[in-house]
Symmetry: C2
Subunit: 156 residues, 2 copies
Amino acid sequence: MTIDSSDHGFLKRAVDISYDHMRSGEGRPFGAILVMKGKPVAEGWNSIFASKDPTAHAELMAIRRACKVLGHGDLTGSTLYASGEPCPMCLGAMYLAGVSRCVYATTRQEASRIGAQTEIIYEEYLKPEAERAIPCIHVPMPEASAAFDEWLAKAR
Amino acid sequence: MTIDSSDHGFLKRAVDISYDHMRSGEGRPFGAILVMKGKPVAEGWNSIFASKDPTAHAELMAIRRACKVLGHGDLTGSTLYASGEPCPMCLGAMYLAGVSRCVYATTRQEASRIGAQTEIIYEEYLKPEAERAIPCIHVPMPEASAAFDEWLAKAR
């Protein structure tokens, strides 16, 4: 996977965003920019303090804003530039939105220095479910499964 | 991990939410409710069609709304009830918010029936990074690492 000068330029922009919003006190120093066909579509930054929303990560915000700008939820063909390696939540959002590629500057290990949980949370995904810090309990309920049948009937 | 009748009641509510918002056309049949100390704090539902936002999953919305209601981002001690097993994005949000426990009714495999990508995306987390569908490329940039130093200096 090659990296060219436009990649460096957009990644630098993501880093600049991280400084701007850290200095304003909105959140931790993480910035992102979503680029489609060589053109910037939307920017995002960590605003977990300003919004009191722990999901307000730079990458998630850039993805949500890009979908709003484009008027649809399909980011196939896009590249997400992030000053820091995306956490598992943001990686999941990338898959859901169809982001095609990601370029990032600092690793999950470096982010641990400022208290980011990225590295620890990634490790949870590798554990058997019973050993994870958050127990997820499956309680089958026939009416929940039946909702999928109703959905499929609607779709036909 | 024991399940009691209040768990069943809240899970049933999550399922009811899934029906309501599927029938209104807002999204796929997934509902969630965030409960703290036995009291419901916020509800969420899949609204990916209405919002054109592929991250508008039931669990993520319930977490975001609960933080707004409580005025802070710490959901330690809470249980998230979800009609369907949380996807990797929503699981990550649970870790970031400190959700303590999750109870769900349908599995990731069942959700595949209606086209949900949950099972496929979880498999991506188990692969070596180079083999994932979304390449994530590390391009070190000294100024990105320096943002963490500035953050630490501010914090002191």
